[in-house]
């Protein structure tokens, strides 16, 4: 028990930590999906300069990018119950699982970053294609969703990938409000055996492998969506 590094313990505790990997993945994928919707809406509000709403969008992006995620998680955790209590909708806040606050914080966080990628990608599509779409009788919304956004996705995909991988790693902060993902599980297991180094090595390996898999998937997606750019 007093050896410097216990390989055997490391291998034995690995499955126990891996068991919480789905929670990490779920937070990542779920927040990314919601974040994409938020990011798209935010980007469109800014592009079309919708009065009032575009100012709110600018404030939201600036605030989110200018404050630490850790602070945002706390704001979500302590702030949402207060807002709900203020609105008095009779929901028992004690029963809201912590993971909900995590989804809120992470979706809003990644949404702000994604909105900037989406905005610059949409603005990179040449105006000629929009006129083209109008001239064949398509409406603004139709040309946005059928012509511009599909091409913008191709352009923004590498950025989306970076945001997604960053988000996945950031989920390691979720333990601070009691969500048991990979990191929290490592802490729990480590506290039992006091072999913290071994369990954290395990969690590092798990994060790294997830990241490698994500990179492969993204690479494949990028290749698939760039088909129309080949000359």
């Amino acid at each position: 028990m007093n050896q410097l590094f216990d390989f055997d313990y490391m291998f034995r505790s690995f499955p126990e930590i891996l068991r919480q990997a789905p929670v990490t993945l779920l937070i990542s994928v779920g927040s990314m999906a919601i974040g994409l919707v938020i990011g798209l809406i935010t980007a469109l509000l800014k592009i079309y300069k919708i009065p009032v709403l575009s100012w709110i969008a600018t404030f939201y992006v600036s605030f989110t990018r200018g404050t630490p995620l850790l602070v945002q998680i706390y704001l979500s955790y302590y702030g949402i119950p207060k807002i709900l209590a203020f609105m008095n909708i009779g929901l028992n806040i004690g029963q809201v699982p912590s993971i909900v606050f995590i989804y809120v914080a992470y979706s809003l966080n990644v949404g702000a970053y994604l909105s900037e990628s989406i905005r610059s990608a949409i603005q990179a599509i040449d105006k000629g294609q929009v006129e083209d779409a109008y001239s064949v009788g398509m409406s603004k919304v139709q040309s946005m969703f059928r012509i511009i956004i599909p091409q913008a996705v191709t352009i923004a995909l590498p950025n989306f990938g970076n945001s997604f991988i960053g988000l996945m790693k950031d989920t390691s902060l979720a333990f601070i409000i009691g969500v048991v993902e990979i990191m929290a599980q490592a802490k729990i297991v480590g506290a039992r055996s006091l072999r913290f180094f071994e369990v954290y090595i395990n969690s590092a390996i798990i994060y790294w492998v997830i990241c490698l898999i994500m990179e492969r998937v993204l690479y494949w997606l990028e290749k698939k969506t760039r088909k129309h750019l080949e000359t």
Partner: protein, 247 residues
């Protein structure tokens, strides 16, 4: 039938169109020539409201749009009755050749997919691109892209096709193939308004030629009259410049 009545358009303080009038009968090919910056593109783009005129009436077929009182429904209707071929062959880059032709049919005209595909194929055959159906625009030459643009315009079955210098951005050796296709289109009775510097094309194909300078039509006439014996000094000067450049 197409009518443009007293069309005015300014960009901020810059008055570009200063009262343009034009009448085009069905099946007619009208060609517009004029120096750079005179407002030719702006006029064409006002016809389908890519630019919004400040004043004037556009009539296409039974649809009359008055700039003083326009509904967005009218603009969509106008765009459904017209088609445009651009100088810089704007094709949808994320769509294949045949999808480019189908897109307007499916989305704007609500045509059934299968029928849109067949329609697309038949027009692409007409412009000689049957072997490129499933290519993306990035793989085409300028001339081929422009022919897709023409096929797409034709497939929409418009009352008029507006051409804005369709050959000016092309390498010289590709100009011929596009002009040939345009000649075929004209022969089949399509109504066309064409902005071009190709004087010999105008001579051969046009029913009527207009010379635009500084936001108005200075003079117009049969191609033989206007090109061979222009009345106005400005027209003469312009023609001697372009013909010099061509030969």
């Amino acid at each position: 039938m197409i009518d443009i009545i007293d069309l005015h358009k300014a960009f901020k303080k810059n008055k570009v169109l200063k009262g343009v009038n034009l009448h085009v009968d069905p099946g007619e090919v009208v060609i517009i020539i004029g120096p750079s910056g005179s407002g030719k593109s702006t006029m064409l783009r006002c016809i389908n409201y890519l630019e919004r005129p400040n004043r004037g009436i556009i009539r296409v077929d039974d649809l009359k749009v008055d700039a003083r009182n326009v509904h967005s429904k009218q603009i969509v209707a106008l765009r459904n009755k017209t088609a445009m071929v651009f100088q810089h062959y704007n094709l949808f880059k994320n769509k294949t050749v045949v999808e480019n032709v189908m897109e307007g049919l499916i989305v704007a005209q609500k045509m059934d997919k299968k029928l849109a595909y067949d329609t697309g194929v038949s027009y692409l055959e007409k412009v000689g691109l049957l072997d490129k159906l499933n290519e993306y625009p990035a793989k085409l030459s300028g001339g081929q892209k422009q022919r897709v643009g023409i096929a797409r315009a034709l497939a929409l079955n418009p009352k008029v096709i507006l051409f804005d210098e369709p050959t000016s951005a092309l390498d010289p050796e590709l100009v011929g193939e596009v002009l040939e296709v345009m000649k075929d289109v004209a022969k089949e009775g399509m109504t066309m308004i064409v902005v071009t510097h190709e004087i010999s094309f105008a001579r051969e194909v046009a029913d009527h030629v207009y010379f635009m300078d500084d936001g108005i039509f200075v003079e117009d006439g049969k191609p033989s009259e206007l090109i061979n014996s222009p009345r106005e000094e400005r027209t003469r000067r312009f023609l001697s410049r372009v013909t010099l450049r061509v030969t």
